[in-house]
């Protein structure tokens, strides 16, 4: 009998060991599975989160509609109109123009030997000036009047023209006075 004779068919060492041994996943495998699982969780999470956001927006829309309904638009409009009116009044009052200051200044600068027969002020034109026609007792009186106007700070310039001696011995003249716009401001 041979010394190596094997009486049993069962091998001494399992020959299937390598066949059924579980293969280890490895770090890349674990990472791939984790990423896959995470992607599924994130997808589901986003789906629900989107639904939550849409609901919140619907709630906000209904709250906004309710709030808008409760706004007293009539009162707000009334107050807004009033405020606009006040602002416009401020604007208009700030540029309120009067002529009495000019008339007073003109009267105070008119010498006693001169009187005016015509006065024409047109504030609608760009240059603020007055056109006057007058009569003086003499040429000296006209000169005095010119001097008086020159001393008046409200008048920028005064130019006399058409000086004529009439049949009554009076000197008639035309006069154009350029006026400082400040004189028209209402105080």
């Amino acid at each position: 009998m041979a010394p190596n004779f094997q009486s049993s068919f069962i091998p001494k060492e399992p020959i299937t060991e390598e066949v059924f041994k579980k293969k280890k996943a490895g770090i890349f495998g674990v990472l791939a599975v984790s990423l896959f699982a995470t992607s599924i969780v994130v997808s589901v999470g986003i789906f629900f989160y989107k639904g939550v956001l849409e609901n919140e927006i619907k709630n906000l829309q209904s709250q906004l509609a309710e709030s808008e309904k409760n706004i007293d638009k009539k009162t707000i409009n009334e107050m807004s109109q009033f405020s606009k009116k006040l602002e416009t009044i401020k604007l208009i009052v700030a540029k309120h123009q009067v002529i009495s200051n000019l008339l007073d200044s003109l009267a105070s600068s008119t010498v006693s030997s001169v009187y005016f027969t015509s006065f024409d002020y047109r504030g609608l034109e760009k240059n603020l000036s007055i056109d006057l026609k007058g009569k003086a007792q003499s040429y000296t009186a006209v000169a005095l009047q010119e001097n008086a106007f020159a001393q008046n700070e409200d008048f920028k310039s005064a130019s006399f023209s058409n000086l004529n001696l009439d049949e009554k011995g009076l000197v008639s003249f035309d006069l154009k006075v350029s006026v400082d716009p400040k004189i028209f401001i209402y105080e």
Partner: protein, 181 residues
Amino acid sequence: MSNITIIAYIILTLSIGYVFIYPKTGEISSLLEEKQKYENTLEVVNNIENKKNELLTEFNKISTQDRKNIETILPSSLNFVKLVAQIDKVAMGYGIIVDKFSSKETSSSVGDSIATAQPSKPYNSAVISFSFKAPYDKFSGFINDLEKSLRILDVRSTKLETQEKDINSYQVEFETYWLKS
């Protein structure tokens, strides 16, 4: 785990990301933006209500007389006939008879041409013209009263011509304003 399985997982993960996650993130961010806008608007609306209540308290402090005066200073229409009646009433106080009342609405834009045009005025205005005869002292008092009237009258032109016995003839133009409500 074989390499093929790992690659399959990675491909699946990328596919899920591309098909489900990536498009949804865009939607989520626009929804968040929309939500933020609604929240801001809601806050503004709530603030409007609070501000309105504060202003209403101040508004109610303005007396009826002051409101009436403000309406006189700047009415909501020209009220030409009423204005003429008021001017005539002041004139009567000085024994002046006013004739030839007329009005001309002024343009709301300022400037002579397109090049010089400025923003339109925030109010309406008209030039009221009238003429009368009176001694100078009566004219002076009358004009003074008109200048100080509650209804704003800005003098635009004045023409005086002397006539016999210290009576002068006058032609006056005033600009007056209103604001359509």
